[in-house]
């Protein structure tokens, strides 16, 4: 039975698209059939992060409106045979998405794949509510920072009221991925600690992704961090998240970058 995941946050720029790509690639590496779907119509980015921007012909809107078949729009990843991308349209806006069309496309994707990961746009409007509408699992991406946490709280409220599962009275699994976390800065009180965020949001923690330059490097290369640098701290954190999503019990640790002895001695240049 296919599982539909929505990656959402409320606030923009916290790492939804990065997380979608990283989770999708990590799941596909385990042999699962995965499709990542970009719901950010008008501001599409997932194709760039996945390195597929030059292969987009048809998009989600074409399929929703019946102008193209799903198979025509799906882009198979060159590195992983089990990973596909359904890109968003850059020239249209979110009003082009219809309730029935989205329901039909998600239904078709469920038949073809083991996992469907929907990259939600920021905000709480139509695009975001349609992306979460048919989800079985929600992954809420949050930065350790107050505005991101409050927006995530708002999104969790919508997940509990606006999704198909919530309306049917069924349980929607909700998980938290805390991104851009820096243990040192959290310790110094410069960012929220993990416990503070969990206390406010009160949903289970799926992963803590440490702040790392590997993430930006991978994005600019058009390769998910879990493929581009699988041994890096963020990639290991995402890989653990995927094992937890598949039902394994994995001890929660915050992976740190491996540093040389000199790197440990000289952490930062004094101001």
């Amino acid at each position: 039975m296919a599982k539909v995941i929505v990656v959402t946050s409320g606030k923009g720029g916290v790492g939804k698209t990065t997380t979608t790509a990283a989770l999708g690639a990590a799941l596909a590496r385990t042999g699962q059939k995965v499709c990542v779907v970009d719901f950010d119509v008008g501001l599409r980015n997932l194709d760039l992060i996945m390195g597929a921007e030059r292969r987009v012909v048809y998009d989600l809107i074409n399929v929703v409106q019946g102008d193209a078949k799903l198979n025509q729009a799906l882009i198979r990843d060159k590195r992983l045979a089990t990973l596909s991308l359904l890109p968003a349209s850059q020239t249209r806006d979110k009003d082009a998405l219809t309730d029935e069309g989205v329901a039909r496309v998600i239904g078709e994707l469920r038949e073809k794949f083991d996992w469907v990961i929907c990259d939600s746009p920021a905000g709480i409007e139509r695009g975001a509510t349609l992306a979460m509408r048919h989800a079985d699992i929600a992954v809420v991406v949050t930065n350790p920072e107050v505005s991101s946490v409050r927006d995530s709280d708002r999104i969790i409220g919508l997940l509990d009221s606006k999704t198909e599962r919530a309306e049917k009275g069924e349980r929607l699994e909700k998980h938290l991925i805390l991104t851009r976390y820096d243990p040192g800065r959290a310790e110094r009180g410069e960012m929220l600690k993990i416990d503070d965020v969990l206390e406010i949001l009160s949903i289970p923690l799926l992963a803590v992704i440490p702040e790392s330059e590997e993430v930006l490097k991978a994005s600019n290369l058009g390769s998910p961090v879990t493929l581009n640098a699988p041994q890096s701290a963020p990639a290991r954190a995402y890989a653990d998240a995927v094992r937890r999503l598949k039902g394994e019990t994995v001890a929660m640790t915050v992976p740190a970058e491996k540093r040389s002895l000199l790197g440990k001695l000289f952490t930062r240049r004094a101001a």
Binding site: R150, D153, R154, D160, S202
Partner: protein, 233 residues
Amino acid sequence: MTSQTQTRPPIRFRGRSFLAVVLAPEAPIEDWLADLDALARRSPAFFAGRAVILDVTALAPSRDALKDLVAALTEREIPIMGIEGAGSGSLGPGMPPPIHGGRPSGEVAMPGETPAAPIERVTGAKSLMLESPVRSGQAILFPEGDVTVMGSVASGAEVIAGGSIHIYGALRGRAIAGAAGSPGARIFCRKFEPELLAIDGLYRIADDIDPTLRGRAVQVWLEGDAMRTAALD
């Protein structure tokens, strides 16, 4: 240019209604007056400044008896502004004017007597129980009674209750109690970090809240027009 008559506004008649205390004496009149004296001893100022109507429908006194009664009341410093139910012949010069057409409006509470039951107490008082946290952007509106939240009320969330608000988690949003006009309503929470508190329309923002109470278990209530906060632990 303008004459005197034009500058003065025309005389206007306005209607206005007042709540009058109606005294309905019962025979024998001496005993009734004794009861009245007992009441006056308990609360000497009860009739001061009140509009008092004398209802003599049940008594149906003669003209002289009515005159004696009014004199007896005037002696007790109870001014009579009108007499209801007296025959047209029994009132004359020097007596209060006749009055009729009054509508009953319930009992006037007597001082010194304990009220039979609290008037606010509604039988089968309603309450709303929420098992899940109230998330940012959600507003809980329950003007019928109390609201109990088993989780937290997030920053940007709002709980509006006609009665009291009980939060068994952290209060980080807005709590508006007594919205149906009950100053006796209170707010209780286990972790006190509110954005705004209000009881019966009197509100206080986070900046005006005692910072030493932050993060503690706290109750909030009204004393007259003042909002009070105190730790519960």
